[in-house]
């Protein structure tokens, strides 16, 4: 079996992976990093979202071998250095952007990908950007509020 190497949250990692091993499986099973969730496993729900070379991707819809040499960021990489919650995570807590929390890793990764390229998105842009991330609990309003707040904007605009 080929050894697949990449950088995950700034740390060089290496693990054996069959051709058919998904990036989500590599992260969760080969590296034991279970922050990245798997929901639908068909590319629909977005809970498995991570960044590969800075781009948002669904890790259940990419092979580990294709991330050879890439810089991968997962939700475990979103906390501050001292282990406290990062700004987006804190906003999710403050604005009740999660209930069961299953979708949250994907939501946080999607939010962070958006804010990197668009630091002050409108509510419509936030909602459009979350089109590939499903949440069965919150009804999305508080997730949108959390992302507006994380971008330093007035959350009241997302309250309607």
């Amino acid at each position: 079996m080929a050894q697949v190497k990449m950088t995950v949250n700034g740390k060089a990692v290496s693990a054996p992976a069959e051709g058919r091993m998904l990036l989500s499986t590599y992260l969760r099973e080969a590296l034991g990093m279970t922050g990245t969730h798997v929901g639908c496993d068909t590319g629909q729900c977005g809970v498995c979202a991570v960044h590969v070379d800075g781009k948002l991707v669904k890790s259940c819809n990419m092979f580990a071998a294709e991330a050879e040499g890439a810089e991968v960021t997962t939700v475990e990489g979103m906390a501050n250095e001292d282990g406290s919650l990062g700004a987006i995570q804190q906003a999710f807590q403050d604005h009740h952007g999660l209930q069961c929390g299953f979708c949250t890793p994907g939501m946080v990764m999607a939010a962070s990908a958006l804010l990197k390229v668009n630091s002050k998105p409108t509510e419509a842009e936030v909602r459009a950007h979350l089109s590939g991330n499903l949440c069965r609990c919150t009804g999305y309003h508080n997730i949108v509020k959390a992302i507006m707040a994380a971008s330093g904007q007035d959350v009241a605009v997302a309250a309607e």
């Binding site: 948002l56 819809n61 990419m62 958006l114 590939g132």
Partner: protein
């Protein structure tokens, strides 16, 4: 998924040789369609030949009359290039941001899903599909549901779109998948009008000749009053054939109005 090896050649010639050598080898583009298919065990290749490392297949270039998109260019990159705004808007409306960062134009055209967006742009702009073996006019390329003119060891390398005077794509999203329940691409270049319809027909993407004729005489939404496409429309839980036929007319009028 059944077991397979992934190979990532950096040269197109090598990729073609690999496809010839391994009888059941298959090309891997962005994997956004193929990986779910493999998970369902609907395909069982022994080798996947990934195009990701072939730099030549990526990028967008244009000259005075055409835009050429490398087959390995992801939807997000096409969405960011505004040379043909109808094409970038179409790419920016495919799926969701994560799908757009992986899925490629070559994969979409090779797959020819009857509800996919890019086939409507290729047919609606009269594109040329360039492969490792030849150039294929869009009019000859699409051959029914998931069927194309490609042979098994042929790789799409780029797609060349003539720049129109005006064009627009309007799709009615299937709300769960965001594929086109019906999508219509209209373009006008001089006196030449093309109308391509996706999501509607049992035979996959098609040119709506009746609408093209009416719009050539009068390029206005009213020109389509009372027209519906002939042929068998798809009927499924999302919409009956009659509903789809009606939507084709509505989407076409909106596209003309947006041109």
């Amino acid at each position: 998924m059944y077991e397979f090896d992934i190979k990532s050649p950096s040269k197109l010639g090598k990729a073609v040789r690999m496809l010839r050598k391994h009888e059941d080898a298959q090309v891997l583009g962005g994997g956004q369609t193929l990986i779910p298919t493999l998970k369902q065990r609907l395909a069982a290749p022994s080798v996947l030949v990934s195009l990701a490392k072939i730099d030549k297949l990526k990028g967008i270039s244009s000259d005075s009359g055409t835009v050429t998109v490398g087959a390995g260019t992801c939807h997000a990159d096409v969405a960011a290039d505004d040379t043909i705004s109808a094409l970038s808007a179409l790419a920016g409306g495919i799926g969701d941001p994560a799908v757009r960062n992986r899925g490629t134009i070559g994969g979409s055209l090779a797959n020819n899903d009857p509800s996919a967006c890019y086939p409507a742009a290729a047919l609606g702009l009269g594109a040329t599909i360039v492969t490792s073996a030849r150039d294929i006019a869009a009019d000859d390329y699409f051959q029914g549901l998931f069927e194309t003119a490609l042979d098994e060891t042929e790789i799409i390398t780029s797609v060349t779109f003539p720049i129109p005077d005006a064009a627009a794509y309007v799709k009615f999203d299937q709300p769960a998948s965001r594929f086109a329940l019906v999508g219509v691409f209209v373009s006008r270049k001089g006196s030449d009008v093309r109308v391509a319809v996706t999501g509607a027909s049992e035979d996959g993407v098609f040119r709506w000749a009746g609408a093209e004729e009416a719009l050539s005489a009068n390029f206005a939404p009213e020109a389509l009053d009372g027209l519906t496409p002939s042929g068998d429309m798809i009927g499924d839980i999302h919409g009956s054939p009659e509903y789809r036929a009606h939507l084709v007319g509505v989407m076409a009028k909106r596209a003309v109005a947006a041109c």
